[in-house]
Symmetry: C2
Subunit: 260 residues, 2 copies
DNA sequence: CAGTGGTCTAGACCACACT
DNA sequence: GTGTGGTCTAGACCACTGC
């Protein structure tokens, strides 16, 4: 590894035009190096990474610089710091908050009272991506994708219907049985079984009416307005790895969002 | 002001039971002091606060400690740092992103193309808070509140219908004329005219059908599903200062949310 | 106890904006 | 040039965890 003795990035060619100076602070470069190690799965979800001192020695910078890099990665929810114990790779499994990306909460506000969701896998099959799905997943039309349909119920009331599409390559071997067996968030299974860590996501929310199959699965009639939540989830490097279309009943739940 | 020479908070009574040691880092205390100055409007929105060096001298701590306090306040969007110029009190007015709290975007994704919203004040009146509104605004039932109803249209299409309630005390003098005259985000007017700065907000989102008056104002029929966005906005100290119920048409726009 | 992250300090230097 | 925030360093000490 090259020693980042000078905090300038980019090729050091003598006659680089360099319209932008492209200055990058040292800690950002360290952040990038740590990110590379995360992508390369040098440290796996749930494991601890080397101590700040070790990383400082490895990258030949001061502890403070490593600290600032880790601070940002922790802010992005890629790492979790635990005082006295170490810094750990964030994971969707065994995360005290299950369903980190699910923002539907009961109107009572009491997450614990309603207990865990009852999951039902309705369908899981392989098919060729149409243009829309291919575009969302950065694939080519006709590439194979895995399509899953499932229902989540709370206290026996079907509340969430989700259709999701995953790129066939990374998710080779995914089946309805595999999904049904796994307990815990689906993203936890993706980490454990397929080495795919969802890092961030974008959601587009609309109000819609259900079609017939949706009415049946959610036990609502044709005139019941539902929340349509279209999510694209990304791994490292902003690579899209999942398209998910959720339909949420909002008669006793609501989508909660904090603005700041 | 007391010199925060020791980084321990709380009353220094000799026989405090103190089940929890309640340790608080110095920079958190500094953050609290800066927050107090912000609440007291010692520095007004848009103005610059003293330099890090000045604040360090004032609070008798090192620049680095002030820096960390300011870092957190900037992270909370209460302050804005501008290299070479200074640190400024965040403001809703003249913020390059108008409508900081409005997450409805055109499906095209192109904010600029649709231009500014056409605002219509439908109603503005004073009335007594019912139990529900009083609870949301931390008032007593019967206290006077200002109720506003307005419509936002994009490219001539009415898209957002908002009903909002404000505590009568802080918003004495608010009128439909005042609202109509002001150009820019409503929260900018609240800052400039009433000294009320909205700092954060919570939103509850549901899918609903419109009643008759809502149909008329949004030019939709009874069966059109709409997004219901119920927002409580807070000033400093988590004091609720606004209850807002928005109805969004989502036929050519969607509510966008980034998860991480 | 040793090892980890967390805080605080002091000083040096860099990048940026205004004048 | 001067003043601002931004980066980097080095060292000291504190708080938490587990042996």
């Amino acid at each position: 590894m090259n020693t980042p003795s000078t905090p300038f990035e980019g090729s050091s060619g003598a006659d680089t035009p360099a319209a932008t100076p492209a200055f990058s602070p040292l800690y950002q470069q360290i952040k990038g190096l740590i990110l590379q190690s995360l992508q390369a799965a040098e440290w796996k979800p749930g494991e601890s990474i080397p101590s700040e001192m070790d990383l400082a020695a490895r990258y030949r910078v001061s502890q403070g610089t490593v600290r600032k890099a880790i601070d940002e990665l922790a802010g992005d929810n890629l790492l979790v710091r635990r005082q006295g114990k170490g810094t750990f790779v964030a994971t969707h499994a065994e995360q005290h908050v299950q369903y980190r990306f699910l923002k539907l909460v009961p109107d009572s506000g009491d997450l614990a009272s309603e207990g865990p969701a009852q999951r039902t896998i309705v369908d899981c099959r392989r098919l060729r991506a149409n243009a829309e799905i291919a575009r969302a997943l950065a694939l080519r039309s006709g590439d194979t994708v895995v399509q899953v349909r499932r229902v989540l119920a709370f206290a026996g009331v079907p509340t969430i219907l989700e259709d999701l599409w995953l790129p066939g390559g990374p998710f080779k071997g995914l089946s309805a049985e595999r999904l049904a067996q796994y307990h815990g968030p689906m993203y936890g299974l993706f980490e454990a079984e397929f080495g795919v860590r969802m890092v961030r996501a974008d959601e587009k929310i609309r109000a819609v009416l259900p079609d017939e199959s949706q009415q049946a699965l959610l036990a609502v009639n044709a005139g019941t307005p539902l929340l349509s939540v279209e999510r694209v989830a990304y791994t490292y490097n902003d690579t899209p790895m999942e398209l998910r279309r959720g339909l949420y009943r909002t008669d006793s739940h609501h989508y909660h969002n904090a603005l700041s």
